[in-house]
Symmetry: D3
Subunit: 228 residues, 6 copies
Amino acid sequence: MKPRILIINPNSSEEMTGAIHRNAAAFAGEDMEVVTVPTPGTSPFIATYEDHAMAAPGMVRLLRENEAGFDAFIIACHGDPNIDLMKEITVKPVVGIAEASMKMATMLGHSFSVIAPVERTVPNKKALVDKYGLSRDMASVRPAIIEQGADEAERLIAAGRRAVEEDMAEVLVLGCAGFAGLDKRMEKELGVPVLDGVICALIIASGLVKYGVSISKKRRYDNTFGKR
Amino acid sequence: MKPRILIINPNSSEEMTGAIHRNAAAFAGEDMEVVTVPTPGTSPFIATYEDHAMAAPGMVRLLRENEAGFDAFIIACHGDPNIDLMKEITVKPVVGIAEASMKMATMLGHSFSVIAPVERTVPNKKALVDKYGLSRDMASVRPAIIEQGADEAERLIAAGRRAVEEDMAEVLVLGCAGFAGLDKRMEKELGVPVLDGVICALIIASGLVKYGVSISKKRRYDNTFGKR
Amino acid sequence: MKPRILIINPNSSEEMTGAIHRNAAAFAGEDMEVVTVPTPGTSPFIATYEDHAMAAPGMVRLLRENEAGFDAFIIACHGDPNIDLMKEITVKPVVGIAEASMKMATMLGHSFSVIAPVERTVPNKKALVDKYGLSRDMASVRPAIIEQGADEAERLIAAGRRAVEEDMAEVLVLGCAGFAGLDKRMEKELGVPVLDGVICALIIASGLVKYGVSISKKRRYDNTFGKR
Amino acid sequence: MKPRILIINPNSSEEMTGAIHRNAAAFAGEDMEVVTVPTPGTSPFIATYEDHAMAAPGMVRLLRENEAGFDAFIIACHGDPNIDLMKEITVKPVVGIAEASMKMATMLGHSFSVIAPVERTVPNKKALVDKYGLSRDMASVRPAIIEQGADEAERLIAAGRRAVEEDMAEVLVLGCAGFAGLDKRMEKELGVPVLDGVICALIIASGLVKYGVSISKKRRYDNTFGKR
Amino acid sequence: MKPRILIINPNSSEEMTGAIHRNAAAFAGEDMEVVTVPTPGTSPFIATYEDHAMAAPGMVRLLRENEAGFDAFIIACHGDPNIDLMKEITVKPVVGIAEASMKMATMLGHSFSVIAPVERTVPNKKALVDKYGLSRDMASVRPAIIEQGADEAERLIAAGRRAVEEDMAEVLVLGCAGFAGLDKRMEKELGVPVLDGVICALIIASGLVKYGVSISKKRRYDNTFGKR
Amino acid sequence: MKPRILIINPNSSEEMTGAIHRNAAAFAGEDMEVVTVPTPGTSPFIATYEDHAMAAPGMVRLLRENEAGFDAFIIACHGDPNIDLMKEITVKPVVGIAEASMKMATMLGHSFSVIAPVERTVPNKKALVDKYGLSRDMASVRPAIIEQGADEAERLIAAGRRAVEEDMAEVLVLGCAGFAGLDKRMEKELGVPVLDGVICALIIASGLVKYGVSISKKRRYDNTFGKR
């Protein structure tokens, strides 16, 4: 029986949802069933804390409506918006793409860098790294480098090169679900592993489903509190 | 000109709002103008991450509607729900009662303990302590000790006594806005400073207003991102 | 094409190798091909640093002889003996069961405890937790509790219960590959997720193979150094 | 009743004492009574550990002679010289300007930089940041940048600009009591909050007085030890 | 040529000075020349921060008067009073007995405990452990256990036993220069290494002299600042 | 009675063994007896984890064969290869040159830098710094700077200069036993203490012998486990 996994894109962009889905489905192949949905009533791009908060009601609704029909849930934004909330409200596995990709990165080299879309979110991502206790393993967070005439891949490669050469990163993590599909091109160019968060989350989520293990309901993520 | 401070109680309990207000107003005296409001459409008691998320829309609305009329804002729940969001959306000072009281506690003794309402929220509070980088200064988080026939103050005192004697805490922090008014009784009983979060937040918030300093709008809490 | 994974048991016990294999094979099912081998010329039980060192030559030989024939390698001892060496000498993924299970545990709850076979190895395991930067996420390392007439499962359950109740652990990690097969019984008894290291490593290893990602060969684990 | 606060300038410079006082008095306004005194028999500028030690006897004398007449005490040197001593010997609140300003800075943005007078004291200030457990929140310590023809404000602004742009600081802290009065000019120039330590300390100290809370006399700062 | 080492006992007790000296001289034997002096004008027992500060002028005088005549200096109080000051004012090696013994302890086992004279100083000693960045290596600070009829050695042994059995300490550090001569008796009783600070400091100090290495005069401990 | 110390060079280079020995013997003088041996069957230069592992059997044999004849053992490679193993298998003191030199460096200035032979080993050395809990004290790890026509000393000096000026290092540590004899030349050139690991280890090892203290055999390094 294949794990059925719902990928929740916390933004409302159909285009980004499509890109995420194609990438996820290609990885899933015959091993898992993957459905990807945008979150209605949210911003088309998640960057600010307000975007996070605005996405919560839609994400909760999506999770609750689909709880019975799926085995695990992935939050497909590299800010891991509302991840504690999602882990709390269901007894099924929930995986954030930042958490999965950054923790997996620590298994593959001495230190990792996150490539962020824009400088504005660099401290927010560092705060997320701190939340997961990964500061020691982080080489840097580098925003994509804007160059005249460069396409997105080239901008990420330019940032990744500095991370590898100047910050001594040995592994790179794509800091946005919207970078779907650029990992292998970057890897080829830069000679270090480049991790896509959604794929890392699919590995963890499908594994947990197969193993029959989920979020602990003891204390922190107990969802029966005040309801018993 | 007195600082005008809006205390946002993220839950919907009129009773707790009243208790918080009486305590805040007594401290404010003639030095500040304080208004305390519950958040409509939220849970009567904030404990879970879902309670936090559900409170966000109401809290945003309250902050936006009152932005012009007040000089600073206090989030009066010791989980500091949606604190990054609140700091982001306004150019005026926003102070969380957990952040204010725990950071102030570090100035008064070697280590502090937080007295939590129930065991369920202990790890959540520890995660908050981590978020603020205060783990080294924390002696423990201790839930109120339920004893037959004991009133709330006695339960907190029993927990505080263990924190001071067994965990070596030198300062105590009340881990719930609803404990308003119990600080001085505990202090007298236990012989160590006991901090109420709302009062600590009033000190910081009114001070920032007087000083004319607010949340940095450079990067992490920039609220113009994607809007310029 | 199924991932072919070699599980290297760093000790020489055929019996433990068999137990590990049965457990791994049951999890692998049709999704991966799993082969489990003991390491010739090593101790029947790995506990000391000398046991680690004595296992290195055999582990290197096993990895080199099987490098072409397998897609990934798992080190099946919860001390992760020689893990940096293994990551260095091959371009294929290598996963230690302690690293995989402890990092996966951090995704499932506030804090985890490791259940160790004996008190002697508690500091060694804490040193390993430090190596992976996981001290903040660790509730405790608890040795199995020896009780008259108790079988192994009961001893682990007794230790796990203390970890959950006294140390506030929300997730448990089996601290020995030889505990294979006891996870689900403990989980049922204790009501928190209990992770077997080999299964966690299979999840990570098979995922990396599928994803086409491996250990970074930039600097720390570069295996061409001094050979070019 | 207004809090009466004694600002102890640990150096002997009448000029710097005057500058500190004017700044403090302007902030205090009608809300507090502020007296500022130099410390007799000390160096005119506090930089070295010897300057700290030489200031201790005079600071103790000032504190003891004025203990009855004031409600709280501020140590107005950004090295927080003898701060543990001062907290120990009195039952009234004592606030160091480095501790107050750096802890307040952590409430206003992702990370702060301290602007130091000279490079010589940079490691000393980093050691102080470590003492307060704030390394994670610190972007950098930057010495004023000496430029031909630049006045003090311009030198601090030049240093602050690098802190904000290169070190990603979101808040700046003036690393010397002698920089009194330059905060608002820097803030205007650089667009981030700039904190003066004396004013931050006044906020905390007057707040503690109003709240009726002081240094814990349990263990670390117990001043009855060996005297009972 | 034998290293000539001055042991500065920061208190004024002739008796404790004698005990420290006998112990030091027995260790020094023919390899070093050791002189031990009390500090005039100080408290007979150093416990509080005030005791530290009061000792500074005398310690500075002793160091300056003897700078030419000795090769290295040891501060013989386990609070390392005024250690930064001492390191700053001379170009010759200065070693604190807490720093030397605790750092040496980390080379001998997984974690160490400090046995403190009284509970009052436990947080002060923890703050010192933090100052040296050794919290990870510290199992606990345990005060001597007062038992009816027990002599000092028995009280230390009782505390040490709990540190070893309950806190998992593998090495013990005597937390007071006045415990001189009790190390070997404790070691025999408890079966773990027990370190006397003065002896550890003699090892480091005489080694530095022989090696011709001293405190760095670059920045933090530069003693020419403001004097050139 | 002079301490008899065996210096184990984990590589097989007779030339490097000779250089280490000459340097050690010059320091030892009449105070200790020093014998230096290469490790048969190992790589001529230790850089990779494989080099570490390959050296283990020879190092164990050397230690066991010489256990009775020597009082202490030094591992003379700045990667501290197999140091836990060595500490475990003997009841006599074992000192790693990286551990000794880096911990001694922390006593001499605010922060230290390690000068590494090549960039490849920089992350490995950072991992070692982490293992010893010294990250806070480390300014940087800098590889020797390759310049046309520069000899080894000049390359190390160039790297050291950047460490002191750009990374704010106040003490330097030679990151390779093969740099024997360059410390004093660098010190003269750069004006900061420069530590040779073997000499630092001789200081610690001979001191422990004289003191009669050794590795704790309680738990982590217990060598009787499974043998009683």
